[in-house]
Point group: C2
Chain length 280, copies 2
């Protein structure tokens, strides 16, 4: 499976090895679903890229150029996965950022993976990872290109029967999955970990929180302990490609697929259709 | 200033953007001085690459191929800086490492920077950085390609009169400089922070500790607080390019260049000459 790639608007696959993205992971990225030739929640993904660039003081290339290039790729692959990376660009030796950075943008699209929709419907098995996330408020929330912690966590298991691993921080707080955010239902409330010390603030996480707000579902974003997984009526995972995966098995505890996960899945689908209709 | 680069043995400067080094910072590196056409302490640098690859389970390309390529570059630039990066190589989407990785090696050499030897002789000014290092024992000590923490710390100051910033971890322990290790002299003892939770175990740090062992200088590798900087008779910084920079000014405290820094500088120089003579 080969991706089609645009680097700074040109159809290339090769990057200058002096790029700070390759030297230091000095960049940010986002990944979104493509459906009917359109990137899903594109404006939210561009907003997160803008915010993340701002926090790392990487000049943002602008919504219009990224949107135009994204749409160019979506004409070539109408159903798939689109990834946008923005790095600080080529640099000299040393960690110090250049005063005038010339950022690199890399957009790549690949066909949709063989889609196990059964995971959304029947739920998934998760595990608790041994690897912990380091706490770093200056990087917390950003989807940056320093991903060794996730790689170490994802290396902990090989079974195809386990679909995701949940991660704690160094203090034992529950934070997220290796490639997803986590929500639990406790009583009548939806709860997801705050990401003030570490973790990635996913676009689908923000969509779920927006739906909860609109629909009057009480939702808390706060520090969470792993013991709250035990007490939860439902646990589910979110990201832009899987949308919602109900967790039906975690370290010996099991759940049926719950009503909140089903409800939110329908609401996300409705939101996508409504976005597509309002901007045809 | 353009570097000369070998990627997997070929004279190229471009890397596949699907390389996990570019996607996730999934790789390690080392940087060494080149003098009289020879990489200084090459065998120690190759040993650290082997160890760091092992810890991240990246297949190590082997000392012989790296050594041959390093020497090939040193014939083109007889005095300069040689950097070796090893990544997990091209990968599919997702954090999970491939079962059979095909690692990428990137060696690049550039001319020596205009060398302010006065910094070794007259000492440098340092500051204490606000940005803290996240604690992560699984990554501690490794010179990996996830370097956003150092980039954020190095962004804190712009004055050319400040030469390095010292970093603490989230708990306030003293760890290292943004691009160097730190040593202090306390009484008759040499002390440097242990790197069990974060930090990079530099090659020059290990050389200094080896010299201390050989010469009977009592040396401690242990947890350190920033208050110990106040009490120190000497503070100095190490890395493979600067060797030793005595700190003469730090957040209002000043020191003269001390005897331990001078002694170790001479001993390092002697060690390099002896290595060159024994392997002509």
């Amino acid at each position: 499976v080969t991706a089609v790639t645009l680097i700074n608007g040109r159809a290339e696959r090769q990057i200058d090895c002096a790029d700070r993205g390759f030297q230091y992971g000095d960049g940010v990225f986002t990944t979104m679903a493509v459906r009917d030739g359109r990137p899903v929640f594109l404006s939210l993904h561009l907003e997160r890229l803008r915010n993340d660039c701002h926090r790392l003081r990487i000049p943002f290339p602008g919504e219009s150029v990224l949107s135009a290039e994204a749409q160019q790729l979506c004409r070539m692959e109408t159903s798939g996965v689109l990834k946008i990376q923005i790095t600080r660009g080529p640099g000299d030796r040393g960690y110090r950022p250049m005063e005038q950075a010339d950022p690199t943008r890399v957009l790549s699209i690949r066909p949709a993976p063989v889609s196990p929709t059964s995971r959304s419907e029947k739920g998934v098995s998760a595990r608790l990872c041994r690897h912990r996330l380091g706490r770093n408020p200056a990087l917390a929330g950003i989807k940056h290109m320093n991903r060794l912690e996730q790689i170490l966590a994802r290396s902990e298991w090989h079974s195809e029967l386990v679909h995701e691993g949940l991660m704690m921080d160094g203090e034992g707080a529950l934070i997220e999955g290796t490639m997803s955010n986590v929500f639990v239902v406790l009583g009548d409330r939806l709860v997801t970990p705050e990401l003030a010390q570490c973790g990635v603030a996913g676009v689908m996480r923000s969509v779920v929180l927006a739906i909860a707000r609109e629909d009057g579902i009480p939702a808390d974003v706060r520090a969470m302990g792993c013991d709250e997984l035990e007490q939860a009526q439902e646990v589910f995972l979110t990201n832009s490609l899987i949308r919602i995966w109900p967790v039906v098995s975690l370290e010996g505890r099991t759940w049926p697929v719950g009503p909140m996960a089903r409800y939110l899945s329908r609401r996300i689908e409705a939101r996508i259709l409504s976005e597509f209709e309002s901007h045809p």
